[in-house]
């Protein structure tokens, strides 16, 4: 196995062009497990740790440009206001040591349905900045996950950053695991209220071959809120609306039975999380006087 250590982003792109099968490594919290368990022995590892810009972020007017290697700890601690859903998701990632190393770029690169960041990215709205020697492009998050552990990256592309929409309303994130910390998701649910556009977006993890949005649930809820004039009045969401939203979220799942849980449980739990997180975000929206603050 060759260990490539580009000193700059340009060198990294050149290396990836030369060795399209090279596996990028930043925090190593995913790939090293695979190597240690002998699940994977890539010919080349492409070490991105010398490229410091990947660990930086910029808060823009509309979105946060989050370097691919920004560790979860930084997101939790420094971006709670701008990216509350992702901050909550980051807090559920493994242990403090792993959160100090791992970042969203790795989650996106692996594209496991169980990646903790995905539901939060789907709910907030995001674009993945992918680049190769051929050029740079922004891939909408909705089009990024293409299959089990597959994504829309071309073989010669690297993830440079992810542009996550700044919260314009409350966001929540919940994840079920069979212990109270350091656990891979049995299933997860993210929700973001977008009062600016009067929409709701969601994300579901570990309950389908890829991370997915519960689009029918989103449309139903957006329509129900619009119809009830709730965005303006801050009126309560009726139990029947919440129930229907939960059912539709549950229906968006296409889970499997595996060693971590049954498909039936995953459907059930996603519904419960959808109902609860909707309740929390809507309460926050009402209480906050319907400002744009999205603190978790």
């Amino acid at each position: 196995m060759d260990f490539l250590r580009p000193a700059s982003w340009e060198e990294a792109l050149a290396a990836k062009a030369e060795h399209p099968a090279a596996v990028p490594i930043a925090g190593g919290t995913d790939i090293m497990v695979e190597i240690n368990f002998d699940h994977r022995r890539p010919e080349h590892l492409l070490d991105l740790n010398r490229i410091t810009e990947l660990s930086e972020w910029e808060v823009g007017g509309e979105s946060v440009r989050l370097g691919a290697s920004v560790p979860y700890t930084r997101i939790m601690e420094d971006l709670r206001t701008e990216l509350p859903g992702l901050a909550l998701a980051s807090h559920t990632v493994a242990s403090p040591q792993i959160r100090n190393r791992g970042g969203v770029g790795g989650n996106l690169g692996t594209a496991s349905p169980a990646g903790d960041a995905h539901p939060a990215l789907l709910a907030a709205g995001a674009e993945v900045e992918a680049e190769s020697v051929r050029g740079s492009r922004l891939i909408p998050i909705d089009a990024f996950y293409t299959g089990v552990k597959r994504n829309a990256l071309a073989p010669d592309e690297l993830i440079r950053a992810v542009h996550v929409k700044k919260a314009d309303g409350p966001q929540q994130y919940a994840k079920v695991g069979t212990r109270n910390a350091m656990v891979i998701a049995v299933c997860a649910f993210g929700i973001a209220l977008h009062p600016g556009t009067r929409t709701v977006r969601t994300g579901i993890g570990s309950a389908a071959p890829t991370p997915v949005r519960a689009e029918a649930a989103e449309e139903f809820l957006s329509a129900a809120l619009e119809e009830g004039g709730c965005w303006d009045s801050g009126g309560a969401i009726t139990p029947s609306v919440a129930k229907r939203f939960a059912e539709l979220a549950s229906g968006a799942c296409n889970p499997i039975d595996d060693v971590r849980g049954t498909a039936r449980y995953r459907r059930h739990a996603v519904g419960i999380m959808a109902r609860r997180t909707l309740g929390w975000t809507w309460e926050q929206y009402r209480r906050s006087g319907r400002t744009l603050e999205g603190a978790a």
């Binding site: 109270n180 891979i184 060693v259 739990a269």
Partner: protein
Amino acid sequence: MAPDTRADAVPAGTPTKVTQGSQSRGGIGESTLRPDGTLKVTGEFAYSSDMWHEDMLWGQTLRSTVAHAEIRSIDISEALAVPGVHAVLTYDDLPTDTRNYGLEIQDTPVLAHRKVRHHGEPVALVAADHPETARRAAAKIRIDYAELPLITDEASATAPGAVLVHEGRDDHHIGHVPHPNIVHRQPIVRGDVARARERADVIVKGEYVFGMQDQAFLGPESGLAVPGEDGGVDLYVATQWLHSDLRQIAPVLGLPEEKVRMTLSGVGGAFGGREDISMQIHACLLALRTGRPVKMVYNRFESFFGHVHRHPAKLSYEHGATRDGKLTHLKCRIVLDGGAYASASPAVVGNASSLSVGPYAVDDVDIEAVALYTNNPPCGAMRGFGAVQACFAYEAQMDRLAAELGMDPVEFRQLNAMEQGTIMPTGQPVDSPAPVAELLRRVKARPLPPERQWETAGGEADVRALPGGLSNTTHGEGVVRGVGYAVGIKNVGFSEGFDDYSTARVRMEVVGGEPVATVHTAMAEVGQGGVTVHAQIARTELGVTRVSIHPADTRVGSAGSTSASRQTYVTGGAVKNSCELVRDKVLEIGRRRFGSHHPAWATAELLLEGGKVVTDAGEVLSDLVDVLQDEAVEVEAEWRHRPTEAFDLRTGQGNGHVQYSFAAHRAVVEVDTELGLVKVVELACAQDVGKALNPLSVVGQIQGGTTQGLGVAVMEEIIVDPRTAKVRNPSFTDYLIPTILDTPTIPVDVLELADEHAPYGLRGIGEAPTLSSTPAVLAAIRDATGLELNRTPVRPEHLTGT
């Protein structure tokens, strides 16, 4: 590649003598700090996996990818051709006719012979100059398997025409088992169940299932074998019982035991999982074949296949009770899955049957326990074995009986609690304190944690105190509190007539103007704190401050196993005994030197205290330094507890146990009833320890055992696919053990009611808290949910009906 003089070199990471005295001065009863504590916390402690030798090779095991198959052929040619490979060994390379090993029944092949019986069975070995080379070479070994039908449970094991897991059994259990796929069967019959049943006003029947738990110790199996110039081998290894390993290793190598020199290297936890051989023989074979030191270290994945697990069990119970709450009878049948090899299964059967009633007085019993041979992973020793599974079932029964009778579950237990003088179902009287009712009273009397304990002062939810924790699944929605109780009984020491002795060599001499005691035993320090306690005993008995603990090795007699809660009792007893013999010799020297100076030398009861010889009235007769001068006094002696008897194979009668240990728990849980997630808020324990030699260590053991019991209540399980008998979750990603956020407050109430038969009155303590913790948590979850929950661990699916 002739051996050179490197055998003289001491490998890096070899344990050295630990002298305690500069910071730790305590005798027994004091919370002396552990000599290895700081090293472990700071990462400086040398574990067996840290051992290193110049020129060493790395050993790798190739394991079966199927559970039950004939081996048609093995082709090692490609592996041998890999540059850097020094040896590839299979069954055909074994040097002697002894090609099996085993704790009690020698049924386990060193390397598979024509057949594999479980997923992950060792088939071939590779030694190479780099671990990665060894791993790659092992992957090039071609094995042609022809799969055989699987035996996975009692039905398939005893079905007509069932394939035999072991053909041609000739062990001493085959004569009394109903089927060759049953390792051992122990019935216990006492009284008249049919008549007693007539007196019962209520009958409660239950079927219970206990999942397969893993010891999940943090230091994977590892060690270093160094070939000696004399054709022997030096083996540095993390194990639980050096001499038991030695007895199994030497015949396979064709060496006399004195040529297999074993030294205990740093042990990263054990819990029973190191009682069986893992890499010991393999590393020695490779070292002797190559003439080079060979290191083997399992990774986490391999570790799950490298040691036995806790027996999963199916338990059928029937209890009867009168309207006024007295138990009338017990019928039970316990089926333990021993997997492919016997390991400790016979002893597990003995414990499960003899302790199946629990700490209750029941005169009329009809009990049967069996262990199966199957193609599932081999199961053997794990903390509390046999008793753990039974406790889960009988405590669930106690709650159901109490509910049937409309009684308080604690009062119902207290009404039936055994006490000193109670006759066990084996006919053995309990001849030391058995404060079962008192332990229950203590945990019940504790104030409960406040309701809605997760609410902060500001009325917000602190998710860390709720089910799901930081995964943020509830802010109180769906959360219901439950409280549950359980109590258990565990035997201490090896039972059923086993010659359960230990050996201690104690030396006293003057070093640097100060009397120093050296304690040398073969006791495996696996984290239990034996090295601390031995120094405390030596200080108490010999009146010294400085005590050196010699590394454990086979240059001294056997200490027996660090298991069955026995080491403080048995090796502690041996150290005490040898200290007493040393003291006698020291006093003899004193009398010889100074006897004429003071009449008390001849007349008074003399003690060694504070570096001096004193009378029992406290008068100082001499400094030890002056008594000893340049003489060293050394004694090596074996020590035994009271003998036990085998259980009768038909009736189960016999004085089979040495001592019992009791603990009770109260669990307080918050259950998210919608998501099926559990937060254990508090797990209070009360335990009688006889005498706490080191109170801090005692509390540590109780908290650790309690947590291990919690683990198998709510998350820990090795999942075996019933269609393939393959392990589905051999990793810490999917075999979950409690994190600190899953570990509740564990208040501990320690009773010290002396057992007059034991050294200092102590009771073995390590296992009892593991028993009652699990059923207490289950009882609390049942209380919160109203569900029956006859299986452990409980999964979210069980709580949500999904």
